[in-house]
Symmetry: none
Subunit: 214 residues, 4 copies
């Protein structure tokens, strides 16, 4: 037998689980939860269907495990990028860079998280929402809290929760856009968003742009 085949046989469980999850993320990201078939996942994984069920459970279980693994990866990637010793705007910028780098490096992970996780409904939506919330808290705490400290919370023109939702939406939407424009670097993407949310259009129009300082 060739070494190739040797390598693929009788692997320890942990390795197989990773293989399967990798294949599942790939297939789910391409076809979406409903259209994806366990048959295709097993083919891509190079593993028979029963293994999937033995190791990872039902299709829904499998999807949940994909979502959780990729979400954890994403959050860790962002957290690793943030540098707490820097001023708030730079922290935000670094966080965003990490985010866009992750999206570029792991398109499929991002697609599964952003696009496909919504299509199942119910339990997953809740999980995804929780992650979005954690994400926004992680990244936007800097900004929103800054505002809150100044008593903005009382003004109708301001709402931490609402603005957070908007900010996350903006970042995600730009990430999608970036998927079709791979030539734009993560630093630039992060800068655009900074200019939008940090300075606002008004300042932009005045020629006042935000730039990273460190």
């Amino acid at each position: 037998m060739t070494e190739e085949v040797q390598r693929a046989r009788r692997l320890p469980r942990a390795v197989r689980e990773r293989q399967i999850l990798d294949a599942a993320v790939q297939v789910f990201s391409r076809y979406g939860y409903h259209t994806a078939s366990m048959d295709e996942i097993s083919e891509v994984a190079g593993v028979s269907k029963p293994m999937i069920y033995t190791y990872l459970g039902s299709k829904e279980d499998l999807f949940a495990k994909c979502i959780r693994r990729e979400a954890t990866r994403l959050l860790e990637a962002i957290q690793d990028g943030v540098k707490p010793e820097l001023p708030p705007d730079m922290q935000l910028w670094h966080g965003l860079r990490s985010f866009y780098r992750f999206v570029a490096d792991f398109r499929e992970s991002w697609t599964v998280l952003h696009r496909q996780a919504l299509t199942v409904g119910g339990e997953f939506a809740a999980e995804i929402t929780a992650m979005r919330t954690r994400a926004i808290e992680l990244v936007a705490a800097l900004v929103v809290n800054a505002g809150a400290r100044k008593g903005l919370a009382e003004q109708a023109e301001f709402s931490g929760e609402g603005l957070s939702a908007a900010l996350v939406g903006a970042a995600e939407s730009l990430a999608d856009w970036a998927l079709d424009h791979p030539d734009v670097s993560d630093g630039v993407l992060a800068s655009w968003l900074m200019n939008l949310v940090w300075l606002g259009f008004n300042d932009l129009v005045e020629g006042d742009v935000w730039k990273p300082t460190a």
Copy 2:
């Protein structure tokens, strides 16, 4: 036969089509494209399945027609709200108000457009993207063009297309948030977004808030 039954029978085609589309939007918005069943749509519409196929084609056709009808409605609602004689920021604010009013008034339309249209993939994604593009062009032209006129287009810190995508994402995300907070008026939602994109966090933190002037 009673008049009740009479009314349900032998209706002109246009009326039947509307009935069916209404039911389809309702069911698609609740369950999503894949989980929705033609059986349920026909039940909700009070029409047998063969009628649906005769009048509106396959499930995919039906979904496409839902998307198109609701997208048209949304765009018209926004366009009706914009007042070209006002200054750019007020135009933007009015456009956003109309948008949020529409989302509140026609939850199902919005849900189908925003959430469910993504789950099908391929052909629909393109169509939806086209509509988002039209939307962003319609609403954000004001801002972007203003910036462009000042030569911002040449700076790496600025990208009309990218920022537009971000802006639309922010507006959509806030719309979703608003679905769970029906007590927040469309005017307030629009103001929040104005403060985010028009002034930026920086000005906000300085206590400088944007307010509608007309």
Copy 3:
């Protein structure tokens, strides 16, 4: 198209349901609940599988409906045979004759009821037990009550419930035996059982009980 095919197409629901139940009883009786496949039932019924699910529900539902229909048939057959104006022993004899006639005429019904219903467990066992109980009450009331009236209930040598169970078991077991001996008439079968249990009961009723002597 031939008339044969004509007859098989577009039948009203009630007719199809009967066809399917007939086929199901046949297949279940031959293979048992677990080994029987919906595919085979649909083939035997001359109907596609979806029809079965549409009309009669899941495999378990289908089986339950078989059991209930056949049980009802059996009980009715027995009830029709009993002649209340006759003395108790003759009533019992006629009831048994009807029972054995039914078993001979509808082997499959009997097989499903007696053999296969036990194999599913849980819900069905209860239902079958209820029917056995009704059966024994129906047929053996004559005998047992006769005994009870004479104060037998107080004796350890007697137990209405236990003896009823034994009697039913005897009748069923003889029915199974009869399936392999179709030449023995229902009248003879009934007589055998009468001689086994009636003479026994008769002595019992007279207060003549058997007791161990060593």
Copy 4:
């Protein structure tokens, strides 16, 4: 390694086989042949699945071996109880007592033999029938032969084989009933059955037969 683990490893084949058979009887009796899974049996036995196949063959083989072992046990238990020096009725009574004691002591054995063996069909049915036959011959020979000697075999009202079948059925059915009434002793159960069938046979042997009168 601990002694505990030591004890579980490298056991002589005979011991392993017994372990497995014990587990199999337990699982088969609880779930029935089809619903029982080899996985569960191997778990209960504390042995890996390949061992089962190596030692005892396929699922069907395993089941057959269960049946045979338990049937042998049952027959031996009954035989041990019978005392050939006593008169026929007492022999019968002792045999029945042994039977009911076995059923009470080894519920699972009895359940597998009586309930589950029927659900497989074909080959097993034959085997079980053979055992029932041996059982009836063993226990009822006394009675039936007594009758046969008196020339009863020629009468339509009598049939050794048929009555035997009925008698076995009665005994089995009462055994099932006894499973739900553990407070009734084996002696009482045996007495009930004696009263049902012995007094009946007794009259039969005396030539006193019941005949329909109308």
